[in-house]
Subunit: 425 residues, 2 copies
């Protein structure tokens, strides 16, 4: 099937899926959970094929680990589906109700966005998480996974499609794309696709953002900062910096730059840089950092770089204003933390740093849908509209206005014969 | 000042404006209202210049009417500002609060989007409405009005800028652009501008949507439908069709196509078409309509056309499913109405029609921010994300996540030593 037809089918299915009851969607989710368990052997066999091919291609160990979809992973995604079933149907929630005039009532009610295009990395569990989030929120879905997980993704998509359609979910609601060229086709289909959520490398996400008129929800860079204020508890600051940088370096919410108030630089930096260097972190500092410690000099490019590695840049700032200015200039609007004992300073920092996630006295690594308690996440957004930060079910919803009258026409209001009541219901 | 510098200044101001208190913003709004009244003569003189030039250029009467900014219009915008002052500060509203673990608390809190670029038509009152909505919601603003209103817009922007900056609103928050080339420059400035709201002709809005990576909120077409169901009250249906088409033809929420269930076509269409023709509406019908009435034949292009004029296309459909299919195929997702006595049919129609505004037994002309009770509107959106239908203050807001800890780091949670509580606060 070509991409255009796939998108058209998904659009058609999305209209009916939008009206599906919460009960039907939960029955379908339960059927997916059951089918994943009963088709375990087929899934493991498909995953074996992908793993064998990946080993032949000498894929790096971390990639192989992400690709592996074993009994434990199946059990995990089934647990995720069970918890999704317990959530209230997010569609049809009344956001506001207003009487415009006698007998003329306006309701603002949540509904699905429509058709979502998701491009995700090599983890096959992402396919199950994303598709079940879309099902719960009533959205149809075009999915493209990593090509190294082709067999696993194909098996999972078939199982999910079959199980849901058998329970009465409209056929065509989930479509698997398999090639890069299909992704490029998808970028053109703004008539049928309402939102694209790309996950993957910076370059790839940036390519998607620049080559489509379809709205894109996601983030290219995650250039996250920890600012250590004058009145910080320095032991706490060291723990937070180490965790933000080292707990897992290859992810978007890891810190890439530490900003240190000049009032505590001399006291903090020698010990902090020692600790980081002992953990294998390569450090690059501003001239004042270099003067205080044994680190290499940073260039302007360092402040704009998402290392995703055991590398950290450090800059001494004159005050919090300079730190905020630095973050708003070089950051990516993702996640930025302040360490301080001064509540007023923390408030100003959280007000003025223009990022989706602003943190006080905790690690940047907390910025994540699971940790935030959103259930699974479809991605993290650095957009300024619709949804920011970790995006769960809510980001897959929008609303429509429903206006119910008894034959009301506008003319008498325009002529001043009638006036609106605008009363909350 | 070039557009890049203007946008950069607006971005700088937006950061501070985001943290402005509700009290300061209301003081500034009051200062704007006062300054508009005390500078009345200067405004009227500037408007006189624009009107004289427009008369010399032989502008059409409706355009002259829109351009005119007299004492009545000044009084109207001042009333609008007073009602804006009475509204609660929309920034800082807590949308959710969750304890992630002991002492680690997550808050989702509304905030301004940042810098909004608005391109609006010739009415100078739009400048006052848009800028005061942006001020109340804490957004900085780049504005481009119709060039025929240049002197009036310049006077208004200067008065608003001066009055607000004198009360302590950051300088540079409002910037007036004056040429089309500045608008084109603006489309490139995704680093500084967070959202563009274009108002104007279809071609113009489409141009903006296709030539910028900045998110665009608005609508190109308003191809609105009235569907007259089998069980409609036909007298009500006629009133609603006439109002939807004729009450004001030049606007996006006027109906362009009427769909009639075949069960009532013979009874409804002769009288309805007579009434519309008496009101000067040119009619174009499907073959079955042509067979029943004295109207010209419609082409496929008619179903896709926003006439914005005394023209209406009519199609007879076999059932409601065909009407919904027609609307979802040819419509623009703006506003669509059903006339029916059958509540179940109305619910299905409102569920399945994929438009921002779905109406039952009332005129499409109600789909408007003022009539919906939103106060002023910045525009009407046919987007599927962020905001749909008439957009008031709420559409100018987004949220940030604020996470407050006591030195919390992720490592013990990742290692399984600690678990999250995820308790609603």
């Amino acid at each position: 099937m070509d991409t255009h037809t796939a998108a058209q089918d998904a659009k058609g299915a999305s209209i009916k899926l939008a009206a599906a009851s919460g009960e039907l969607k939960n029955t379908a989710l339960q059927a997916v959970a059951d089918a994943l368990l009963s088709n375990k052997d087929a899934i493991l066999a498909a995953n074996r094929k992908d793993l064998d091919a990946a080993e032949n291609d000498c894929l790096a160990a971390p990639l192989l680990k992400r690709l592996k979809f074993d009994e434990k992973k199946i059990a995990d995604v089934v647990t995720g589906i069970q918890s999704l079933i317990t959530l209230k149907n997010p569609v049809g929630t009344q956001l506001s109700a207003t009487e415009l005039d006698d007998g003329l009532e306006l309701y603002k009610v949540t509904c699905p966005i429509g058709v979502i295009g998701v491009i995700f990395e090599s983890r096959p569990d992402a396919l199950v998480q994303i598709s079940t989030l879309c099902l719960k929120s009533g959205n149809a879905l075009l999915l493209k996974g990593g090509s190294e997980a082709m067999h696993t993704n194909r098996a999972l998509a078939e199982i999910i499609s079959k199980a849901t359609v058998e329970t009465g979910i409209p056929d065509g609601w989930i479509q698997l794309l398999e090639t890069r060229s299909e992704v490029n086709d998808m970028l053109e289909l703004d008539e049928h696709i309402d939102l694209i959520i790309p996950r993957g490398s910076n370059e790839f996400v940036r390519h998607i953002m620049e080559h489509s008129n379809i709205p894109v929800l996601g983030h290219a860079d995650g250039i996250c900062h920890v600012y250590v204020d004058q009145s910080a508890d320095l032991a706490m600051a060291q723990d937070i910096v180490v965790d933000s940088k080292c707990q897992y370096v290859a992810v978007c919410n890891a810190a890439e730059t530490v900003l240190v108030h000049e009032g505590v630089a001399e006291q903090l930096l020698p010990a902090l840089t020692n600790t980081l260097q002992e953990k294998g972190v390569e450090l690059r500092g501003c001239p004042r950092t270099v003067a205080l410690t044994q680190v290499a000099a940073a260039t302007d490019a360092d402040w704009r770089t998402e290392y995703l590695d055991y590398i950290l840049s450090i800059r001494v700032v004159a005050d919090m204003g300079e730190a905020i200015q630095h973050i708003n200039t070089y950051g990516s609007g993702h996640t930025d933390a302040i360490v301080t004992g001064d509540a007023d300073a923390a408030k100003v920092f959280m007000d003025l740093v223009d990022s989706g996630d602003v943190l006080w006295n905790c690690s940047t690594r907390f910025s994540d849908g699971f940790r935030y308690g959103l259930g699974a996440e479809v991605g993290i957004s650095t957009n300024k509209i619709h949804a920011r930060g970790p995006v769960g079910l809510e980001g897959l919803l929008i609303y429509k206005w429903r206006l119910i009258g008894k034959g009301h026409i506008v003319a008498p209001y325009a002529d001043g014969e009638k006036t609106f009541t605008h009363r909350s219901l």
